[in-house]
């Protein structure tokens, strides 16, 4: 089969590989019909997330048709079923899964010994990600083995195009969870840093959940335009001060809820000196992440507000304003997405026409064009916001 394979920093190739095989009774094999490049794939592309190995298959946002089912998954899946595969691999049986904390499933990380050392305790296995989360082959491929497939799937009905449901596997529930964990009230202003795919989904989620005002922050005009189309007031940080404008839009109080849809690779600009400092430290290996957005959110958030962090962080951050956080009594909520906790509800909302997540797709290409699209997406060329690959 063909797949997009990580060979090193900024080196993704469309390789020919052996086909995946069923290993465990709960496994299934899915023939991938659509998959996407996610913003967090770029952290792997830049080798900012540790423990990637040459030969690892990329991709954690995919869907397709079940073509083979292990004996213990047959009660839930059959050949021909159309499924979206959530990026978090879940057993559905452990304490965390029973609580709905699927992204910290205690059973699916097959490299628990590594995760124990780095995280203290293991988190769920993830597709197409670091070996700290199991090193499972990803879905930017023609075929995918889905471990624990009886639990790790979202069945989707025929008749809905792939593009409308593909993002149930990651960015839609990620944006949704980011907004949900803000516990949005009708009186709230929700400020969202980053108008990439997750930021766009968080904007739509905050609008649907009834925020009084949604404010989107970025500096790319095309992304800001898409944010505005979704109902957000926009701030271009190249043109105006984020803090001043947010205070102006909230009567000097600050937004009650802040969402970081940027993560570890905040934009670097001499006009934001801390970002230059972070970049220099990151290059020297003295800091793994660039937490400019965290600093700004904590500074501007209304006291007693909520900071929601769907953006991916990889390791250590520097100059974290713990004093502001503590004194303002802010609540931080973060984590990888508990995808299956939200997908039944979100699928219903798609079917009812409340939202159509395909709005975010800007490029649809073949798998062979994938390596080049990593570069286009990373460099934000051709107004690229979301790439869908068709294996």
């Amino acid at each position: 089969m063909r797949a997009l394979v990580w060979h090193g920093k900024e080196d993704i190739r469309c390789d020919t590989l052996t086909d995946p095989e069923i290993e465990q009774p709960r496994d299934a094999i899915v023939k991938v019909t659509s998959c996407a490049i996610c913003g967090s794939d770029l952290h792997l592309f830049h080798n900012f997330i540790p423990a990637m190995l040459p030969g690892d298959i990329m991709g954690h946002e995919m869907m397709g048709e079940v073509v083979e089912v292990g004996p213990e998954a047959k009660h839930k899946l059959k050949v021909g079923d159309r499924v979206v595969v959530p990026f978090t691999i879940i057993c559905g049986e452990c304490d965390q899964c029973k609580r709905g904390n699927f992204s910290v499933c205690e059973a699916t990380n097959r490299k628990k010994y590594l995760a124990d050392k780095v995280f203290g305790h293991p988190t769920a296995g993830l597709f197409g990600y670091t070996h700290l989360t199991g090193g499972y082959p990803g879905g930017q491929a023609e075929y995918l083995r889905v471990p624990f497939a009886d639990a790790t799937h979202i069945k989707v009905p025929d008749g809905i195009p792939d593009e409308k449901v593909l993002f149930l596997g990651d960015i839609f529930p990620t944006g949704w969870q980011a907004a949900v964990q803000c516990d949005i009230q009708p009186t709230d202003t929700v400020a969202i840093w980053g108008c990439g795919p997750v930021g766009q989904m968080a904007i739509r989620s905050a609008v649907l959940l009834g925020a009084k005002q949604v404010i989107a922050i970025d500096h790319l005009p095309d992304r800001l335009e898409m944010a505005e189309a979704g109902g957000a007031v926009t701030i271009n940080f190249d043109e105006e001060s984020v803090v001043e404008r947010l205070n102006e839009l909230t009567g000097g109080l600050g937004p009650e809820k802040c969402i970081d849809a940027i993560g570890m690779e905040a934009h670097v600009s001499p006009s934001m000196p801390d970002t230059v400092y972070d970049r220099a430290k990151q290059m020297l290996g003295a800091e793994s992440d660039r937490p400019h957005v965290l600093r700004e959110m904590i500074y501007v958030c209304r006291p007693a507000g909520v900071i929601s962090i769907p953006g991916v962080y990889g390791g250590l951050v520097d100059k974290f304003p713990m004093g502001q956080l503590m004194n303002k009594g802010l609540t931080i909520r973060t984590g990888q997405t508990h995808v299956n906790r939200w997908t039944d509800d979100l699928l219903r909302r798609i079917e009812e026409g409340q939202i159509d997540p395909s709005f975010v797709i800007t490029h649809t290409v073949s798998l062979e064009e994938g390596p080049e699209m990593y570069k286009v997406f990373r460099d934000k060329q051709d107004s690229c916001i979301k790439v869908v690959l068709k294996p």
Partner: protein, 203 residues
């Protein structure tokens, strides 16, 4: 074939690479990478063998300067190997200028190692040319032309429009583990109500 070695970290049923395809790295990226490693090698040499370098060029007494240039080269190398490689390569071009200016000071007629300086200058000029080609290449490859901007004005994501979407999911019940502290507005409302009740209460 590094992926063959890394296969020891994979399970039996995991796909293994048979043939490798074209890479996301372009020629300019590979050149940047080569120049980055060259910078690191040169920087280490300047740090470790400053005396030998100054002796070969007839620049005795300039060891500290050569070591400082070594540190500078390491910086160029680190940035050239990062995603901001264009900055690294343009900084190398600037550094080449500094190297040329420094070598020119050793092109004195009374320098017995003048020939070595000439060879070094020719080498630096050659590398400068490569640096300029590399810097222009990566800048062009990773540039985001503003003329390519597309319009996304119609990408609402809401089939029934934004106004209909506002609050359409208010039926959603936030799970107890994700609820915030009581909303500020709710607290103020309660305080106002309590004040009103206090006023209404007969004394």
């Amino acid at each position: 074939m590094t992926y063959s070695i890394s296969n020891i970290a994979r399970s039996k049923g995991d796909p293994k690479v048979l043939h490798s395809g074209p890479s996301s790295l372009g020629a300019a990226d590979r050149m940047a990478r080569a120049l980055g490693w060259f910078s690191i090698g040169l920087g280490l040499a300047e740090l470790i063998a400053a005396e030998r370098i100054t002796r070969a060029l007839g620049m005795e007494g300039k060891e500290t300067l050569v070591r400082a240039y070594g540190v500078r080269e390491l910086g160029h190398g680190i940035v050239s190997l990062s995603p901001d490689k264009h900055l690294g390569l343009w900084s190398r071009v600037a550094g080449d200028g500094l190297d040329i200016a420094t070598l020119m000071t050793a092109m004195r007629h009374d320098n017995p190692k003048r020939d070595n300086v000439g060879i070094a200058l020719a080498a630096v000029l050659g590398v400068t040319l490569l640096d300029i080609i590399g810097a222009q290449g990566v800048t062009a490859r990773h540039r985001r032309p503003s003329s390519q901007l597309r319009s996304y004005r119609d990408r609402t994501g809401f089939p029934r429009g934004v106004q209909a979407a506002r609050g359409a999911a208010r039926d959603f019940k936030v799970p107890p583990d994700m609820r915030a502290a009581p909303a500020l507005a709710a607290v103020s409302d309660r305080a106002t109500q309590e004040k009103a009740q206090e006023k209404a209460r007969p004394h």
